[in-house]
């Protein structure tokens, strides 16, 4: 589960204009999402979208987790399928952030 790692990054990089934004593509109901969030005490937000949301399709989401790193101007910087913390930290550094 990637969330403990995301929580750590979210905390460490909060002062560096970094934010996590989660998307649940129609795979959990809202009560289950809230339970998950309360249990983990996550500081960022998630949205719930339909599985066939056009933007989910455009981003080619079929494996979970899939993470995209989006630049300050909204451009796509990096994509990771599955969770490889080392690769994510490398991408964050390439984006000018300084994870611990």
């Amino acid at each position: 589960m990637e969330f403990p790692h995301l929580a750590e990054l979210s905390r460490d990089l909060a002062s560096q204009d970094f934010v996590v934004f989660s998307v649940n593509p129609g795979l959990d109901a809202a009560p289950a999402i809230l339970d998950h969030w309360k249990a983990g005490k996550y500081s960022w937000d998630t949205i719930a979208v339909p599985r066939d949301d056009a933007n989910v399709l455009k981003l080619g989401i079929s494996t979970f987790p899939t993470n995209y790193l989006i630049g300050k101007d909204g451009s796509v910087l990096w994509r990771g399928v599955g969770f490889d913390e080392k690769a994510l930290r490398k991408a964050l550094r390439a984006a000018g952030l300084e994870p611990k």
Binding site: D45, V49, D73, G74, V81
Partner: protein, 293 residues
């Protein structure tokens, strides 16, 4: 893992439409042609046509991903010019697919503002130059399927065709003859109105499992003598578009051109309001797709 999008759809669709018919099918014994003067008229009009324009609704499903629906229009002009326009529900343009010189397709992806050139498959090239059989690509299916049903397949095609079977079915309230062509990795079926000879539905199953695709095209209109501007078949690089490697997937293209991420948004159970990616403009965002199990 693959994405769903017009780019892959067009490639699969056209490659298979071309190769499917090329490698494909011959009439297996005497078929049961619909005895219809209208069919003869349709075949005659196609044989004389310089151009054809077809429009309809397309449904595509790749692997276990949800089905995607779009409007498909295509136009073809002898000898082998073709243009396909894909439009998503709500009017968003999916992209265009343009064959302007008979040697390569130009594909433009609206989502990533990128375009690519794809050479014609070598096996397909003979089809594109086949004289007298009909127009290119899809039109081959258009021309050949009714011909197969009518037992009028052009001689050169009989050498290429594999095994076609026919059956009867009702398609959207219209009695049709269904021509099914089975290829090693592809099953293509064309439902042809027994009344008019027009193709009403094209269904194609390609591969299996997560790499499989199921495509359906319901034809709404056919114009065998459209007024087509010559510009229709000229590919012009859209403003600010970037040329990319046509072998890349749409999401790889997003990365390659550092395109703007689509502004995904929705209701947030955790924030109690609607949120979207652009709300975080000015920050570096880790956009995380997740589920709890």
């Amino acid at each position: 893992m693959r994405s769903v999008g017009a780019s892959r759809m067009t490639r699969v669709w056209i490659t298979c439409a071309v190769l499917g018919v090329a490698v494909g099918a011959h009439a297996e014994g005497p078929s049961a042609p619909p005895a219809s003067a209208a069919l003869d008229a349709m075949l005659a009009s196609f044989a004389k046509a310089d151009a054809v324009r077809v429009a309809g609704e397309c449904s595509q499903k790749f692997g276990d991903q949800p089905a995607d629906h779009l409007t498909l229009q295509f136009a073809m002009k002898r000898p082998s010019f073709a243009r396909y326009d894909f439009v998503y529900p709500g009017g968003g343009k999916g992209g265009i697919f343009c064959l302007a010189d008979g040697k390569q397709f130009w594909t433009y992806f609206e989502g990533s503002k990128s375009y690519s050139a794809t050479p014609i498959e070598p096996d397909a090239a003979p089809i594109l130059q086949l004289a007298g059989t009909g127009l290119a690509l899809f039109t081959q299916a258009y021309f050949d399927a009714p011909a197969i049903v009518a037992g009028k397949t052009a001689a050169p095609w009989k050498d290429r065709l594999g095994s076609a079977t026919t059956s009867e079915a009702d398609v959207a309230g219209e009695a049709c003859t269904v021509v099914t062509m089975k290829m090693p990795n592809d099953v293509l079926s064309l439902s042809i109105s027994t009344k008019t000879g027009a193709i009403r539905r094209i269904v194609e199953d390609i591969g299996a499992g997560s790499d499989g695709a199921h495509l359906e095209f319901d034809v709404r209109s056919i114009d065998a003598s459209p007024k087509l501007d010559a510009e229709t078949f000229v590919f012009r690089r859209p403003a600010a578009a970037v040329e990319v490697d046509g072998t890349k997937s749409p999401e790889e293209i997003l990365l390659a051109v550092r395109a703007a991420a689509p502004d995904i948004g929705g209701d947030s159970p955790t924030a109690g309001k609607r949120l979207k990616l652009s709300d975080y403009r000015g920050k570096i965002v880790l956009l995380n797709f997740w589920f709890s199990h």
